[in-house]
């Protein structure tokens, strides 16, 4: 549908920035407008790019978790974690007529992220072997990719003073 969500937000943001904010003298009201501007920029980017970010990230998460699963197989210290990995990788996520909705993707991404969080802890608490070090480096590399992947949602949207 035109206008798109991003186009609608661009119009609202223009009015707030150019026509409303210059006429607002109250510091608190001005601060709210500053925050609203950031949120609107974020929502505009999120409306167009978030689904793709989630799809790409979930693929990356699954690769990492599968690799971790095979690296840690048979090591009793990681039994609980590998069971968690198995569970999250085999979970069914809701579809609507063959398509994944954003909420379903968010839920899956969140579950994977939680398991990756546990993986980080488990690797730091484990004995310092070469295979643990290698896997740890792969986790850190993934985390950096994930952060760069979602950077457009925050980097040029939450700008200026936060309040």
């Amino acid at each position: 549908m035109r206008p798109t969500i991003a186009e609608l937000i661009r119009g609202v943001s223009w009015a707030l920035d150019e026509r409303v904010r210059p006429n607002v003298e109250d510091k608190w009201a001005n601060s709210h407008l500053q925050s609203i501007g950031s949120i609107l920029r974020h929502v505009a980017v999120r409306s167009e790019g978030y689904q793709q970010i989630l799809i790409d990230d979930i693929e990356d998460q699954k690769e990492l978790l599968s690799e971790a699963r095979s690296e840690l197989a048979g090591q009793s210290a990681f039994d609980k974690l590998t069971a968690e990995i198995d569970q999250t990788l085999s979970a069914d996520w809701p579809e609507h007529k063959g398509h994944r909705l954003v909420r379903s993707l968010e839920d899956e991404s969140f579950h994977h992220r939680n398991v990756i969080d546990q993986l980080v802890i488990a690797l730091h608490e484990a004995a310092d072997t070469d295979s643990v070090k290698d896997l740890h480096q792969k986790v850190v590399d993934y985390l950096r990719r994930q952060i760069e992947r979602e950077a457009p949602l925050f980097e040029d949207t939450f700008i200026g003073r936060p309040f």
Partner: protein, 346 residues
């Protein structure tokens, strides 16, 4: 939800607590006051004597701060008869009708302001003002950091390690627990960062003292070229003094970092180790994430819908996390500090 404190509400409350004949003429909230709501009350007692109070109230989101307002009140109370300049505190209360039952404390307004005269001026006059402001602040931090915190009862408010060498490790652990209990999302990079910081924790040349937390430019009350009150103690802790220098809001770069720290050593006897300070500067940038992200709880559940919760609880943590991800793993904390300082200054 945030409620505006009306003149009538403030007057009724203060009449009940202080003087049933007093009159309140004006009530207003100061800006920004994000971590605590700060309300100024102007009025007069029945005798005609002016009444100027400050009411600090915990916002509905809990205040982007790991420590409750009660702890801040206890700091004020314990410092009343100390050499540290501080406003007179009157009382603390919670769970009553005023301010919808939110935690609050009342103190006397100190005459002065947070602006420091002349520090933005160009040329030699500005240089002198900047040097003076830095030295004045260093002197006051020196008084604070050399205070016998045990004698003043701060061990009853804040956890303290047996061995001062563990001061930073102990603080890191307290914040790790706070983060674990309060974050609203999984942040594996932050988990990774905690381990990285833990591996670099300095244990040599570490001191344990009462620290203020956010301090420096814009935080203290100045009058006639002097700090007359150190204000807003929401992040006070028993920690290494470098933590205060790392959180001094630009003071280290206002005049001359090395000369300023030399002067601080002269007045306090405390030597700030460059490695400890570098760690503190990285840790301070990291702490902002820990403090601010949990403010999303009350936004997400509808208790505190101020949009600033999103800029502080989502935008700032995500951007800080991205910047910090570039230094995590470095073995050289000085280099990490320089990178962090680079993006914070940009």
């Amino acid at each position: 939800m945030n409620k505006v404190i009306s003149l009538q509400e403030a007057e009724a409350y203060l009449r009940q607590r202080m003087d049933d004949q007093l009159n309140v003429h004006r009530v207003f909230q100061t800006f920004p006051g994000i971590s605590r709501e700060t309300w100024m009350v102007d009025g007069a007692y029945a005798s005609g004597e002016p009444l100027n109070l400050v009411i600090r109230i915990t916002p509905p989101n809990g205040g982007n701060c790991p420590f409750p307002l009660k702890a801040e009140y206890e700091v004020y109370k314990r410092l009343q008869d100390s050499p540290v300049p501080i406003a007179k505190v009157l009382w603390y209360d919670e769970g009553i009708e005023f301010a919808d039952g939110r935690d609050h404390m009342v103190r006397v307004l100190v005459e002065g302001g947070t602006d420091v005269a002349g520090i933005a001026d160009p040329g030699p006059d500005g240089d002198r003002a900047r040097e003076h402001a830095c030295k004045e602040h260093a002197s006051k931090l020196g008084i604070l950091h050399t205070l016998d915190w045990r004698e003043y009862g701060f061990g009853d408010i804040y956890p303290a390690p047996e061995d001062p060498a563990d001061a930073i490790r102990s603080e890191l652990e307290q914040w790790r627990i706070y983060w674990h209990d309060n974050k609203t999302d999984a942040y594996p990079m932050i988990t990774e960062a905690f381990y990285w910081l833990e591996s670099l924790v300095p244990t040599e040349n570490v001191h344990l003292c009462l620290t203020k937390g956010n301090n420096g430019l814009g935080e203290e009350i100045w009058k006639d070229d002097s700090i007359v009150a150190m204000s807003d103690w929401e992040l006070a802790a028993l920690a290494d003094p470098s933590m205060d220098w790392a959180f001094s809001q630009g003071l280290l770069d206002l005049w001359d970092r090395d000369k300023l720290l030399e002067y601080y050593t002269e007045v306090s006897g405390i030597v700030i180790d460059p490695v400890v300070l570098a760690f503190a500067e990285v840790w301070t940038a990291f702490k902002a994430i820990i403090c601010l992200e949990p403010s999303m709880v009350s936004f997400n559940n509808g208790e505190d819908l101020r949009p600033v919760n999103v800029t502080l609880g989502l935008g700032l943590p995500k951007n800080n996390e991205r910047h910090l991800s570039k230094v995590i793993g470095l073995k050289d904390i000085i280099r990490a500090r320089d990178i962090v300082k680079g993006w914070r200054d940009s």
